[in-house]
């Protein structure tokens, strides 16, 4: 058993803030790292110490293993928490951290390696008796002709997926055998760029399927703590947008079978730390193993609300060799939680990232509302990093209460300067399809494809008048009341007011 004193968080944005705050609440000293693009980021102020690890591109800062380990050593940290994304599922990083004599708050490098490769993970799952989606499974392949032949056996529609992938990168849906070669080439190229590994494999594509995942914690000695399931079916571009705990309208038998499957996987693999076992739930009620995420998930707060736990605390406790309190194993879910991801993206433009300066940031408040935000007014949303700005989580005694609170919370939210997913999610949560749990993983894409163009909304006189004030007055009067002199400010520099030629 060790007692960690000082923890470096090797991440940025909302997860860095959530971890730094949580670690300090556990009595740990904290160290933040940042790139040159993040010098104004709020996570720096949340830590006892902040260290710049390099220039804006992630490859030169947040992904730079030696710089991060050097920062940990220079600051006297005895452990590193990787967060999610970046190096969180990089076995070499976990190994390098341990080799430097530091504690890696996460699974062993071996676990990350095994679970990170979908082909290997699928074999482990099948060995544990968990079904996987019918697929062409060898180690991944780059030969389009071989994959085309395999697709004929599996049948279409079929998914072309990166063997080393995640987050929808290197993924394509083929609706006919003929288009396989083109899609394989595209997916392979994308996988090569994203993961440095161009191998892809094929998998039967299940239509109108839901994404359900199980939160697990392992102690590294064959014991598992299973903390329920989450539904993450609302996705765009194969990436999650809204998550719920517990999954709505999931038959108890299916729910329990998923939890048992996840438990078996953790126990058999001697998994250590927090992880997520992902399943795809077909529209006939069958479920299949998808993959294991060997880290804290973005959507972990919904589990924390419903199970009354702090998953970071459990991660730290396992890393210190103390396991978890026995009574947690009997913990029953209470109420319902939902999370909406606030992305700097434009839903009307196919969820393309939107960049700019955040000139105003207003978050919701009130009972049952949790906001995990990574930005504040004045921050620049750049092209360098993931467009996830924040997560809004609401909680209530049942699903309707949680969703009603989410509608209200999203109505209160205001981000100026970039397009976001907020309004889209608010409309979706109010929609009868969402309330009736008719949302599946391709629902958003299909809805957008069939959506009528938005009617012009520029003729409401109230909005016209308000815009006119903002555009004409900008800054307040110096006196604070009535028209008089005004001081130049941010507004003026943004205006098109030029010297005459």
């Amino acid at each position: 058993m060790t007692n960690l004193k000082r923890v470096l968080v090797a991440n940025r944005g909302e997860i860095a803030l959530r971890l730094l705050r949580g670690l300090q609440a556990l009595g740990k000293e904290t160290v933040a790292v940042y790139s040159e693009a993040d010098a104004a980021a709020p996570h720096l102020r949340a830590a006892h110490q902040a260290i710049c690890v390099g220039p804006p591109p992630p490859g030169e800062s947040y992904l730079k293993i030696d710089a991060l380990i050097a920062a940990a050593q220079a600051s006297g940290a005895d452990a590193i928490h990787p967060g999610y994304g970046f190096l969180s599922e990089n076995a070499d990083f976990a190994a390098a951290v341990e080799a430097a004599g530091l504690t890696f708050i996460g699974p062993t490098a071996t676990s990350i390696r095994e679970m990170g490769d979908k082909t290997t993970a699928g074999e482990i799952a099948r060995a544990a008796g968990i079904p996987t989606v019918p697929a062409h499974q060898p180690d991944g392949e780059v030969d389009a002709a071989k994959l085309q032949a395999a697709a004929k056996e599996i049948g279409v529609p079929v998914l072309v997926k990166a063997a080393a992938g995640g987050g929808g990168k290197g993924m394509r849906i083929a609706h006919s055998i003929a288009e396989i070669p083109d899609l394989v080439e595209a997916a392979s190229r994308e996988a090569q760029n994203a993961f440095g590994d161009g191998r892809v494999f094929l998998e039967r594509y299940l239509e109108n399927a839901r994404h359900v995942e199980v939160q697990v914690v392992g102690d590294g000695a064959g014991h598992a703590l299973v903390l329920g399931a989450r539904d993450c079916s609302t996705q765009r571009r194969h990436q999650k947008l809204i998550e719920e705990c517990p999954p709505p309208q999931l038959p108890t038998a299916t729910h329990d079978a998923m939890l048992a499957a996840a438990r078996s996987l953790v126990e058999r693999s001697n998994y250590r730390g927090a992880g997520t076992v992902e399943f795809i739930l077909a529209n006939d009620g069958a479920f299949y193993f998808l993959e294991v995420n060997t880290r804290l998930q973005v959507e972990h707060p919904v589990t924390e609300c419903v199970y009354g736990v702090d998953l970071l605390e459990l991660q730290v406790s396992v890393a210190e060799g103390r396991g978890w309190p026995k009574e947690l194993e009997q913990r029953q879910p209470q109420g319902h939680a939902v999370e909406v991801r606030v992305y700097a993206e434009n839903p009307a433009a196919g969820f393309l990232p939107s960049t700019g300066t955040l000139t105003e940031v207003v978050w919701p408040q009130g009972p049952g509302v949790r906001v995990d935000a990574g930005v504040e007014r004045g921050n620049e949303v750049s092209i360098y990093y993931d467009p996830l700005l924040a997560k809004i989580i609401t909680y209530g005694e049942d699903r309707d209460r949680a969703l009603d609170r989410m509608e209200q919370a999203l109505a209160e939210t205001f981000l100026a300067g970039v397009e976001t997913s907020v309004q889209f999610c608010r409309e979706l949560i109010a929609h009868e399809d969402f309330r009736a749990t008719r949302v599946h993983t391709t629902y958003v894409a299909e809805k957008l494809e069939n959506a009528a163009p938005a009617p012009p909304r520029d003729d409401d006189p109230w909005w016209q008048a308000a815009a006119c004030v903002g555009w004409n007055l900008g800054q307040p009067d110096a006196s604070g009341s009535g028209p008089s002199t005004r001081q130049p400010g941010a507004w003026d520099t943004l205006r098109d007011w030029r010297a005459t030629p």
Binding site: G356, V362, Q423, A466, L473, L494
Partner: protein, 169 residues
């Protein structure tokens, strides 16, 4: 990558009168009164009703607004020629886009002007800024004289679009 795409363009104009700011918006006769402006908070009053907005600047002069659970981005009106925009069909009421001093008045009431023609020059922050005619028009009213101080939204000059010849737009 996309940059924020404004959803609408403002056609309203603002004036200062009786110690208050007033906004005329298309489609309504009675103007809106600015009850309070403490950025980013704005209170507007119209026909006895008060509504609260949150207002923030965007890129290229656009304005981001939040009201009643909704967020909109409204683009700055095209000011190349038109400071305000037509209050009604065929009529232009050009207002001062920022505080300054009237340097020159280049036309007189009753004059016929061409689209793009310089009408009034305002000096602000040591820069000369001409107000130009948005259309082929007749000058119906000039509200300022040389040396006058003007505040943003003050009406400067009013024009009625002239018939016949096709205008520049």
């Amino acid at each position: 990558m996309t940059t924020p795409s404004p959803t609408g363009r403002t056609k309203a104009t603002m004036q200062q009168r009786d110690g208050s700011y007033w906004v005329s918006a298309p489609g309504v006769e009675e103007p809106f009164r600015v009850v309070a402006w403490t950025p980013p908070r704005l209170l507007l009053e119209h026909a006895g009703e008060v509504r609260a907005f949150t207002v923030a600047p965007g890129a290229d002069g656009a304005v981001w607004l939040h009201h009643d659970g909704e967020t909109r981005c409204i683009a700055k009106p095209d000011r190349r020629g038109a400071a305000g925009a037509a209050a009604h069909e065929g009529h232009d009421d050009l207002s001062a886009p920022m505080p300054g001093k009237v340097l020159e008045v280049l036309v007189a009431e009753g004059d016929t002007v061409e689209a793009g023609q310089r009408l009034v020059v305002i000096e602000a922050m040591k820069m000369e800024n001409p107000l130009r005619a948005p259309h082929h028009s007749i000058v119906t009213k000039i509200h300022v004289g040389v040396g006058d101080a003007v505040a943003p939204g003050d009406s400067i000059i009013e024009l009625d679009q002239a018939p016949a010849e096709a205008s520049a737009d």
